[in-house]
Symmetry: C3
């Protein structure tokens, strides 16, 4: 798991009523390698690191996955059974071999899970720290691994 930096600067016109000194969009990418078909991979530390290094004091962190058979979610970071319970339940609820599926890649279950969990999460941050609750972690939900996945980060 490694992170590449790419700083972008946007010069924002001075609005008569509002003062923008210089709003900076920072975009970044986090690469995640899954090793199983279904897996929840904690990427909180990697995201925290980029937010901390960015120099941005406060704003909103958008994470976006560029794939259609995985998702991003926020859930408990303590008991690992939360992850296995979730993946196990979704596997039963949306079976890969569901009789009516016609998609030739045989992974319609992964596409459906991806849309239900969602392709992005948005987390406010302050003083270079994500404003996560005590038990919250950020997860890439792999539903059709093993693969290399890319998560875009945009800080504003």
């Amino acid at each position: 798991m490694h992170t590449d930096f790419c700083f972008s600067f946007v010069i924002i016109c001075v609005h008569p009523w509002l003062i923008f000194l210089c709003s900076e969009i920072l975009m970044n990418i986090i690469k995640v390698n899954s090793v199983q078909r279904e897996e929840m991979i904690d990427i909180t530390r990697e995201v925290e690191y980029v937010v901390g290094e960015s120099g941005e004091k406060e704003g909103v962190c958008v994470l976006f996955t560029q794939h259609t058979t995985c998702g991003l979610t926020i859930n408990e970071n303590a008991d690992p059974h939360v992850k296995s319970d979730m993946l196990g339940f979704l596997r039963k609820l949306i079976p890969q071999n569901y009789a009516d599926f016609k998609h030739f890649e045989h992974n319609s279950d992964s596409h459906i899970k991806s849309s239900l969990v969602g392709s992005s999460v948005t987390v406010p941050f302050k003083n270079g720290k994500l404003l996560l609750g005590r038990w919250q972690g950020i997860y890439l939900c792999e539903f059709d691994g093993a693969r290399e996945r890319k998560v875009l980060m945009a800080l504003r």
Copy 2:
């Protein structure tokens, strides 16, 4: 079986440390007290109030819950049966006593619902008003109450 607003408490807390009047971002917190295990609590008014008071003319309002057994969603604000139908259906679909769940807190159903519904909503606003559709309300979805919940607001 109605899970209505009347027994729930919503408090807007204007935290001095969380408010930044630098025109770049405004953060705030809304506290919500649920009184049942499963409940959809309408927080639209509270969000509208903060947006209106912020002085921000237009932008995007991000709401983010700092918990892993509740969610945020936007749905109908008219017939209360929409809420009870949704909570009742999810209760049947993802039962608390599902045999395969192993999480020691016995609330894996709540964690799963939380990830499916999502931990944040994003709503554009203009002239100090949320650009919600006529029938849209913003709900905190309690899946493991009764508890005090915190919803962060970030306006940009």
Copy 3:
């Protein structure tokens, strides 16, 4: 049973009152006409067009639907069976005629699907192009058509 784009209409409406070229935020609206009860309508091109025309180089594009019986999602843009598999599976999972539903409009299934899929998507963009993955398309998920739907766009 295909629910394809060819019979749906997507119109970009550049509302003078909704566009703000003050560099603070650009808002726009996309109108979508569905023609079936359940349908996934690809709006990627329309969104790309507005992003390209906006003059904004980089930032985050928020799409928000002002309705409670449709949703927005990102999923595969190649094999149309992905769409029909998803809609068919959700139709079986959350049946319109579910015995316990009490909502008088008989579309609680649509409201539930709307909350599970979500009312918004957020996509970073750079150099006037959405940073979508190769196989990603943006879809309005119609769950209670045929209707005219409005999707708000906010670029920051």
